[in-house]
């Protein structure tokens, strides 16, 4: 008891504040390891005719079972879905426009990601050819092969058909392999997109607050002197 009294007396005015600072610093060091906080992000990318999205709280925890709404350029709602256990949601490209993918979570958090029309048109064309017109393509291919067998010099239009088909095939192959090759990069982007607060920002913020305290004290003192 006596010891306590003694300590109370001995405490200089500035010292408990130091203790405070120490507390906050300790928090920073021990709890801040993955720098987590309260924000959501959504990232969407096009692969073939599908758009994949991934939603996260900043820090990497996946946003499960939340609504994802897709709007077109004019703000009309195109479709709506729910994220799965991994925070992912995929949908087929409904239309060639600028898409806006909006994530809405239940606690007042919202995030959006825009996909530009060029990104989609390129892919949507390919996907239509590769899915809907596969039968037609195969048929024309065969016809083309036959006609080249017969004699290419007879008609001028046939070789051009062959060329365009080959081009289409090459395009498909390139797209496929690019998707495969870019997968790791896309993943890296997903990871880097929700960059949590850095130590510099945290320290900067604390510095701002102390600066404000200084300004407030300056004016208060000036008022008192007058």
């Amino acid at each position: 008891m006596c010891q306590n009294c003694h300590r109370t007396h001995r405490m200089v005015r500035g010292r408990p504040r130091f203790v405070w600072l120490l507390f906050t610093a300790l928090w920073l060091v021990f709890f801040n390891a993955p720098a987590l906080a309260h924000k959501v992000t959504i990232f969407a990318w096009v692969e073939g005719d599908t758009v994949h999205t991934q939603s996260k709280f900043s820090g990497g925890k996946r946003v499960k079972n939340s609504t994802v709404v897709v709007y077109d350029k004019e703000g009309n709602q195109l479709l709506e879905g729910k994220t799965d256990e991994k925070g992912e949601f995929s949908f087929k490209v409904p239309k060639k426009t600028n898409l806006k993918v909006v994530l809405k979570t239940s606690m007042g958090h919202m995030a959006e990601w825009k996909i530009s029309a060029e990104e989609i048109t390129a892919v949507a064309d390919v996907s239509r050819n590769s899915t809907a017109e596969v039968g037609v393509k195969a048929a024309t291919e065969e016809a083309a092969r036959l006609s080249t067998d017969v004699k290419a010099s007879r008609e001028l239009s046939v070789p051009t058909v062959v060329v365009s088909l080959r081009r289409q095939e090459v395009q498909d192959l390139i797209d496929e392999s690019l998707d495969r090759k870019f997968a790791p990069i896309v993943n890296m982007l997903i990871d880097s997109i929700d960059r949590g607060p850095r130590v510099t920002e945290v320290i900067g913020g604390i510095g701002y607050i102390f600066g404000l305290v200084g300004v407030a004290l300056y004016f208060a003192n000036r008022r008192r002197k007058e």
Binding site: T8, W20, W27, N32, H38, M107, V202, A220
Partner: protein, 215 residues
């Protein structure tokens, strides 16, 4: 706890900003020169606390510390929280500038309410157990009321109140417990080393050092 931009309707945003401005005005009027540093320190603590992530429960939640701020600052929690939130919005992109008013109101109003509810227990004269329990309740209640207010703000913009509020409160249960313990620990610590800081919240000009409460 931070409501993002574009979620709330303009009416809610304006009302929130107006009420926050009123609260900040009251807080600044009550602010004495000697208290400026402690308000700043607590504002900094609030600013940093949002980085302390609580990995329990269905969603991602973090510490808020509004109970502690209310306990120590009373109405002055309004300016302290406003500054902390503004910096969080600017530097971390938590919440947003347009939602600053509503977010400040959602966190600072519970702080003030809890200050009035629990100030009777936070005195150097009260017994240690009662003292710690009221501090714990203060920390808990501030987070609880904050969650309810967030739910209410969402309700005003058209979301169903009960499901939204239930979900937010449920997500914050671990935070409530942790904040209660933290508030109690801070209060007990301050009671030992600097009791006049706690008293200052509601007995503005009490300069005597109460020593009978020790032990």
């Amino acid at each position: 706890m931070h409501i993002s931009e574009g979620v709330l309707s303009p009416g809610v945003l304006i009302v929130g900003a107006g009420l926050t401005a009123a609260g900040v005005a009251v807080g600044l009027r009550k602010l004495e020169t000697e208290e400026i540093p402690s308000v700043g320190i607590l504002s900094a603590a609030f600013f940093v606390a949002s980085l302390v992530h609580v990995p329990v429960g269905p969603a991602s939640v973090h510490l808020i510390l509004n109970g502690l701020l209310g306990l120590m600052l009373g109405w002055k929690a309004f300016p302290a929280i406003l500054v902390g939130l503004a910096l969080q919005a600017l530097l971390f992109q938590f919440g947003g500038i347009t939602t600053l008013g509503v977010n400040t109101l959602n966190m600072a109003l519970p702080a003030v309410i809890c200050c009035y509810l629990f100030k009777w227990g936070i005195r150097t004269g009260t017994r240690r157990l009662v003292f710690s329990l009221t501090a714990f309740a203060c920390g808990c209640c501030a987070v609880f009321l904050g969650s309810v207010l967030v739910g209410f703000s969402l309700y005003l913009t058209g979301e169903a109140f009960l499901p939204a509020a239930k979900l937010i409160v449920a997500a914050h249960i671990p935070v409530m417990v942790i904040e209660g313990i933290l508030t109690a620990a801070c209060a007990v610590f301050l009671r030992r080393v600097k009791p006049e800081l706690l008293e200052g919240a509601y007995v503005p000009k009490l300069s005597s050092y109460p020593q009978n409460g020790e032990g």
